[in-house]
């Protein structure tokens, strides 16, 4: 077996391990009568052992892929996002040993699973490095950034648990609406995975020529039935579906098509879930959050920002600036990805100030943590796919 295929098998193993571990954490939370009893629950112990096994195989994927390609596997959307999922699990393990809370695992692992699933929808083959990425700073800058972001993301997981515990889902309210919206967004990501996998399995392809932003001719391949056509498109595969509408040059109609398919699939999934359970999806998860200690979740949410913020600053700003100076001749160039890293940093700086000086604890702090995670994901996904810049490697 070649290193590359060993690597993808290890990733599969860790994916399954996380799934199994989630079930055990679920058992730990469900079976526990109170906070103190669930801390030393047998299910929880098995859960963390399986999580660690999953993490080690995940690390094995990372190392073997590094060996196969000769560079840190951090150079495209698949690699970066998979590593983010891995570090998220790593950060969870760290905080588990600090606070011994199975509830955290019950929510952190499914989010890691969704992230890895999302990553796998992108081209997974090993790509050689373009000149700008050929530097040791690739490993240093990107790994530090991902570790920082993963620890910050744990804060959102703790925040989510806190909110699930404290928001009354039986009566309509603003907070109930937004909490359900967060869950709905997660279902949308699932919709992307489901729809993308479906069309991948059927091998759908549609080819077009079009006129790009700089008025030059270009070619594009769709893996979804093309709902929207690129600017001035002409079909090369006439048997494929004819797009409903032609988009102006600034809109990437292919991305828009994938987006609309994902959202549509997500909505169908969500409606199905609502029909089956006949209540807001957030309230299905609520019983699992009830066992968590509120103060503890609040503290984990805060502590993970405290741990993650310096790491993020170092990786996403300081190392980034040093490398940018080396590769692009300037340490800061207001590239969208850079700006969004700054925005993330400013956001968490505001979070810390509000918490320290304005006493924003509990629900407010939990909401901020969730918003912070949304900003991180926006920088990871939307900035790469929608706002073109120097960092668009995927």
């Amino acid at each position: 077996m070649s290193l590359a295929s060993l690597s993808s098998n290890l990733l599969l193993v860790s994916f399954i391990a996380y799934l199994v571990a989630t079930l055990f954490f679920g058992g730990a939370v469900k079976g526990a009568k109170s906070e103190s009893s669930y801390k030393n629950n047998r299910w929880g112990k098995i859960g963390i052992v399986i999580t660690i096994i999953g993490f080690i195989t995940h690390l094995g994927y990372f190392i073997t892929r590094w060996m196969a390609s000769g560079h840190a596997p951090m150079s495209n959307m698949f690699e970066f996002t998979t590593a983010f999922g891995m570090m998220l699990v790593g950060a969870f393990i760290l905080l588990f040993f600090l606070y011994r809370t199975p509830s955290l695992g019950l929510f952190a692992l499914p989010i890691a699973i969704i992230i890895i699933g999302y990553a796998s929808m992108f081209p997974t083959e090993i790509t050689p490095l373009i000149p700008a990425l050929q530097s040791h700073w690739l490993a240093v800058h990107v790994i530090t950034t991902v570790v920082g972001e993963a620890i910050l993301a744990i804060s959102a997981v703790a925040g989510l648990i806190y909110l699930l515990k404290h928001i009354d889902m039986s009566k309509p309210s603003k907070q109930r609406f937004w909490l359900e919206a967060v869950i709905f967004t997660l279902v949308l990501v699932l919709g992307f995975v489901v729809s993308s996998t479906t069309f991948k399995l059927t091998g759908y392809e549609a080819h077009f020529t079009y006129i790009d932003k700089n008025q030059a001719p270009a070619k594009i391949e769709y893996n979804y039935p093309p709902l929207f056509g690129m600017n001035g498109y002409e079909a090369l595969t006439p048997e494929a579906m004819t797009p409903w509408a032609e988009m102006p040059a600034v809109v990437n109609a292919k991305t828009l098509t994938s987006f609309v398919w994902s959202v549509a699939t997500g909505i169908v999934l969500y409606l199905l879930l609502r029909l089956i359970f006949r209540k807001p999806i957030a309230s299905i998860f609520q019983p699992f959050a009830k066992k968590a200690n509120s103060q503890l979740m609040d503290e984990i949410g805060y502590r993970s920002v405290l741990i993650g913020f310096p790491v993020f600053t170092l990786g996403a700003l300081i190392f980034a600036m040093i490398w940018a100076h080396e590769a692009w001749s300037r340490f800061w160039g207001w590239d969208p990805k850079e700006v969004w890293a700054l925005i993330t940093w400013l956001f968490y700086a505001a979070f810390l100030h509000l918490r320290l000086s304005k006493g924003w604890e509990g629900k407010k702090s939990a909401w901020l943590a969730v918003i912070g995670f949304i900003i991180i994901m926006f920088n990871l996904i939307a900035v790469n796919l929608i706002i073109a810049g120097l960092h668009s490697y995927a």
Binding site: P128, I322, A327, L354
Partner: protein, 550 residues
């Protein structure tokens, strides 16, 4: 300035909330509160005390965290708006032409693009309001830090070991209870606390155990780092601190480096390499199949020269400094300058080779090569023939008023007027020769034919010198130290003391991470048999603690 005298005899500065020494509440509000606000030790902060003059008002404005956070959010939002559409400097049109810029935004983004341009968002980060926001952020950081750090430092320095009961009772963690042997409990607590690396002070039946006070300075250290960083950014405006130039250099060319006096650069070669399937088909084959060609390397081989001291300008007076291959991520470094590989153009015409032939027989008089940068006037050929170059148009763009015209000095489309002199036609025949085109005024017997051309590549290089980098790096380093100092350690204090009636009182405070503090207190409590305590903000745990004890 009036002082507030506490019952314990200490003179506190005006505006103090909790006595610096014994912790007694000084204000009505503090006396009424159940848990006192310990954030700045209840010290007298300028912003909370003086509110009259303009200076007070400005000071109070900038020292407010609410204002600080608002500024952060304003920077955040404006930054985000700036990423909506590409910024001016990423737009591939003439940067100095507002009309072209506007047309670009209008063409691609329509009405919203026009508004984006009109509001100045297309150059957000250089706009005056963005700069003002950053300036306000800097001011806020300085004032807010000074307003807090000085009184905080003073009151932590002056704090007494023995606190007044009213201070103890108003802590978030507090407990009291009878003790069989209060004195031995205190001794044991002291022993255990020391073992846990606490700094323990005792005074008259009271213990103050303190740990990691230095972490309290973390925020102020990181703010100092930020200020140094912003100062470094400010310095870039001063000439001499910062050089940012670009140069285009052709293969074989020797040019003065802009922005770096006395230094010259010669380009020996420019090349692009691609990943080939042969070298890595097993690993990269799939990706290469999907994407097509992927660039492996952009490289300019250069020689760096320095003008000899007291030498004149000219190649003979240059010393070779070094040969270097500039690639992306490996700039050429010399004397504080960095030269970066940024751009390239391939295959610009360098020279053209022609030959003179007799049309009838096809007989050649030999070839000659025209250097397109510096064409000679006369080319001597075999058998006494010669070609005079009497007109050269580097970038030929048609004929105006009977004269050929050149659009630019760059040889994109060279055209020539030759005068061909042979022994048979000593007066010469004229011919206009351009690419794929020959014009003659009358039927000539001879003709200049195109044989071949040499091309060369051009490298786009950026030259940078940035004396502020070290200041920025220092700022970053100090920021990191401060933020780690403040985040990874917590300032913890535990007070244990004997009350008036022989009961034991236990109180504790930390700036964060209360769970770990409670773990430590529990350890001391068990060892020294201290009274039970209560965390007034965590009802769930307290209940469980009681349940556990039942």
């Amino acid at each position: 300035m009036s002082k507030i005298k506490c019952q314990c005899g200490h003179d506190n500065p005006f505006g103090t909330v909790l006595c610096e020494k014994c912790g007694r509440p000084m204000t009505e509000e503090a006396k009424k509160s159940e848990v006192v606000d310990m954030r700045y030790e209840g010290s007298a902060r300028r912003s909370q005390t003086y509110k009259r003059s303009i200076i007070d008002k400005v000071w109070n404005f900038f020292s407010s965290v609410k204002i600080g956070v608002s500024i952060i959010v304003a920077v955040l939002v404006t930054s985000a708006i700036g990423t909506l559409f590409p910024q001016k400097f990423y737009v591939p049109v003439n940067q100095d032409s507002p009309a072209e810029l506007l047309a670009y935004y209008e063409r691609l983004y329509g009405f919203i693009g026009t508004i984006y341009y009109k509001l100045g968002f297309y150059d957000m980060y250089n706009s005056w309001w963005f700069k003002i926001l950053i300036g306000m952020l800097g001011t806020s950081i300085i004032i807010a830090s000074l307003d807090r750090v000085i009184p905080l430092y003073k009151s932590l320095k002056k704090q007494r070991t023995k606190r007044h009961a009213s201070f103890m009772k108003r802590q978030r963690i507090y407990g009291e209870g009878r003790s069989e042997n209060a004195d031995s409990a205190l001794t044991k607590a002291e022993e255990k606390l020391k073992e846990m690396k606490y700094n323990v002070k005792t005074e008259d039946g009271a213990i103050l155990a303190e740990k990691n006070r230095f972490s309290r300075w973390g925020p102020y250290v990181n703010h100092t780092g930020l200020i140094i960083f912003l100062f470094g950014v400010l310095l870039r405006g001063i000439p001499g601190f910062y050089v940012d130039e670009t140069m285009w250099i052709r293969e074989g060319e020797l040019r003065a480096i802009p922005g770096a006096p006395d230094f010259y650069l010669e380009s020996n070669d420019f090349k692009i390499e691609y990943y080939s399937k042969e070298e890595a088909s097993e690993v990269f084959g799939e990706a290469l199949d999907r994407v097509g060609q992927i660039v492996k390397k952009y490289q300019t081989d250069v020689t760096l020269y320095k003008k000899k001291e007291e030498g004149l300008v000219g190649s003979s007076d240059l010393d070779v400094v070094k040969d270097y291959s500039i690639i992306v991520n490996k700039p050429l470094k010399f004397d504080g300058y960095n030269v970066f590989q940024m751009d390239y153009r391939l295959a610009e015409l360098k020279s053209m080779t022609m030959q003179l032939i007799e049309k009838k027989t096809g007989k050649s008089f030999g070839q000659f090569t025209i250097d397109l940068d510096d064409p000679e006037g006369v080319y001597k050929l075999n058998d006494g023939a010669q070609v005079d170059l009497i007109g050269y148009y580097a970038d030929y763009n048609g004929v105006e008023n009977g004269e050929p015209v050149s659009k630019s000095p760059i040889p994109n489309n060279p055209a020539f007027i030759f005068e061909m002199k042979t022994p048979e036609k000593p007066k010469g025949e004229k011919s206009f020769v351009a690419i794929q085109q020959t014009l003659e005024t009358e039927e000539n017997a001879y003709a200049v034919k195109f044989v071949g051309a040499d091309t060369r590549d051009i490298s786009g290089l950026t030259i940078r010198k940035d004396k502020t980098l070290y200041i920025l790096l220092l700022g970053g380093l100090i920021f990191m130290i401060g933020v780690i100092q403040g985040s990874y350690w917590n300032h913890r204090r535990i007070w244990v003391q004997k009350g008036e009636n022989g009961e034991l009182m236990l109180a504790a405070h930390t700036n964060k991470n209360w769970f770990s503090l409670k773990k430590e207190i529990n350890a001391v409590k068990e060892y020294a048999d201290l009274p039970n305590y209560e965390d007034r903000q965590d009802n769930e745990s307290s209940i469980e603690q009681e349940e556990g004890e039942k």
